[in-house]
């Protein structure tokens, strides 16, 4: 083992101490948490911020004249700036707090319903999560717009030559995830964005699965909208962010009406507040926003390069062992030298139902996800009811993978 690898491995052991939940037992066995693509665990540094907020400065923000309200407002707006810096947005008002990825997508889809005409076309990819399919179908129903789909190949990669044929002067929007939640495929969003812009279409990238593993630079990507959830990045549930280019956010009408998002209200006419408040009606998830900022601090202190290198090592280690198991099939891009894939392994063993494998693994304290992963079109493509999905984060270890492999072999033996 090289010195660099040794350093990273040592980090994982130290890092685990930050996560109280990793000490618990499930069904009498030490928890092995491999359901990170669904939600990540929360380090004590973030939990402390949440406890501190409710213990010391819980208040409604922005309009209070008292000390607590000002402290809470400051912390909330500082967190917004941390998010801006993390994603390298040009302005902090281009960062809109949301309740999560789904909220961000719906906000944009709803906004576009007043901008689209009947002959317009929008494009999604075959690799999407239901949350990046259904809002656009609803949008198409409202506006009469046509929805087109970039197909995928058996490796779980988008077929870009087909994408070229779908693009034309009527294309107004393209929606694609940065990384597929079901397969872990990293999509070539740089190319997708460039080609969309060439025909004048805007692009929304769903970053729910990418943000835990890499650090997107929205200006370098030249992406129009980018959405993600804090709970996949060691933050709390119920909060996320929408990045939108200023020019687009100004064009889109507000999504929800209420307090906070107005400038002047009379029964004759209401004028809307400036960005970002125009899209933040009502009392926001103040604590969640502050904790989101703390989660990014935590991840950045470890460093995304170290995270990516270590997780890739886990991916390769697990993949090599899993491929030794008879009849085991991994779906998605080939994992080795995984430039095109993150630390997600979506698989089946022979004809065993994923639900059965997940149930037996749970009895051994091993948490994986089973089912269609809210991506039924992908499962239909492979003609399977679902897969078992093991997904790793930087706090997982090779020892845990060894236990998982042994557990998986046992489950297969029991179920065959």
């Amino acid at each position: 083992m090289s010195q660099a690898q040794e350093h990273i491995a040592l980090d994982a052991e130290t890092i685990r101490k930050d996560f109280p939940i990793l000490n618990r037992k499930v069904n009498g066995k030490p928890l092995i948490y491999f359901d990170n693509a669904a939600t990540s665990q929360t380090p004590i540094q973030v939990i402390d911020v949440i406890v501190d907020y409710y213990s010391n400065y819980n208040a409604n923000i922005h309009r209070g004249v008292h000390a607590l309200s000002q402290e809470a407002t400051d912390a909330y707006e500082q967190a917004r700036m941390k998010i801006q810096k993390h994603f390298n947005a040009k302005h902090s008002h281009e960062i809109i707090y949301t309740s999560g990825t789904t909220h961000g997508i719906n906000l944009v889809a709803n906004g576009f319903s007043s901008l689209l005409k009947k002959d317009d076309e929008i494009i999604v990819s075959a690799l999407e999560h239901h949350s990046n399919i259904v809002p656009w179908q609803m949008l198409c129903e409202r506006t009469g717009t046509t929805l087109k789909v970039i197909p995928m190949n058996t490796n779980g990669e988008l077929i870009l030559s087909e994408y070229d044929t779908l693009l034309n002067a009527n294309t107004k929007l393209v929606f694609v995830n940065h990384i597929s939640n079901a397969l872990g495929t990293i999509n070539p969003i740089e190319t997708i964005i460039e080609k969309a812009h060439a025909v004048g279409a805007a692009v929304l990238v769903d970053g729910a699965q990418s943000c835990p593993h890499l650090k997107p630079d929205v200006q370098a990507l030249d992406v129009d909208f980018y959405v993600c959830s804090a709970h996949k990045i060691c933050g709390p549930t119920g909060v996320g962010m929408l990045y939108g280019k200023e020019e687009w956010l100004k064009k889109l009408p507000p999504y929800q009406g209420g307090g906070e998002m107005i400038s002047e209200v009379s029964f004759e006419k209401t004028t809307y507040a400036d960005l970002p408040h125009k899209f933040e009606a009502g009392t926001p998830n103040v604590c969640g926003g502050i904790a989101f900022g703390a989660a990014l601090d935590y991840m950045n202190a470890i460093g995304f390069e170290a995270i990516a290198a270590y997780e890739n090592e886990l991916l390769e280690y697990a993949t090599a062992q899993m491929l030794q198991i008879e009849d085991l099939k991994i779906y998605g891009p080939e994992a080795s030298g995984a430039k095109n894939k993150t630390s997600v392994i979506s698989f089946n063993v022979g004809n065993i139902h994923p639900y059965d494998i997940g149930t037996i693994l749970d009895k051994m304290g091993i948490a994986v996800r089973t089912g269609h992963h809210c991506a039924q079109p992908i499962m239909d493509f492979y003609k399977i009811p679902g897969t078992v999905r093991a997904s790793f984060m930087f706090y997982n270890t090779k020892e845990e993978i060894d236990t998982f492999i042994a557990g998986l072999k046992k489950a297969v033996m029991m179920l065959s």
Binding site: I352, Y355, D356, T370, G371, P385, M414, L415
Partner: protein
């Protein structure tokens, strides 16, 4: 045997096992003995959609008693269905309506009846009772 007697018999059988592995292995074996639904009845009308595994149930009346057959695409689900059907099949509709499913808890399989609906079992029990109610109405 009454439903309660059968349930007690099942509880006795499961009490012989020391750990979850033996319990699950037994359940998987029971799944293989499930009175399988006739392919002709394996239709969309008879399907109970859980989030993950599918369950098919068919019922018919035989001498004032309800007979159930079923199937699932997941073997553990099939095992639990086999246990439920053993308790509820060939019983008078009234008894099925009044029966409870606490014995599932007593044999250590409570997690399968949680409201996550991953396996469709909660819906399946409802469906067994719905059939019983329908047949009871016919008898009245």
């Amino acid at each position: 045997m009454t439903i309660e007697e059968i349930q007690n018999e099942i509880i006795d059988e499961f009490s012989m096992f020391d750990d979850w592995e033996e319990r699950y292995q037994y359940m998987i074996d029971l799944g293989k003995t499930l009175p399988l639904i006739d392919e002709a009845h394996k239709t969309d009308d008879n399907i109970i959609k859980g989030c993950q595994s599918k369950v098919w149930v068919h019922a018919h009346m035989n001498d004032d008693k309800v007979e159930f057959t079923a199937d699932s695409d997941a073997i553990i689900t099939k095992g639990i269905i086999a246990i439920l059907i053993r308790a509820f099949s060939n019983q008078h509709p009234k008894d099925i309506i009044e029966a409870n499913t606490d014995f599932i808890d007593k044999i250590g399989l409570k997690e399968h009846l949680s409201p996550t609906r991953a396996n469709g079992l909660v819906s399946m029990i409802k469906q067994l009772k719905m059939y019983a109610i329908a047949y009871q109405t016919q008898l009245n």
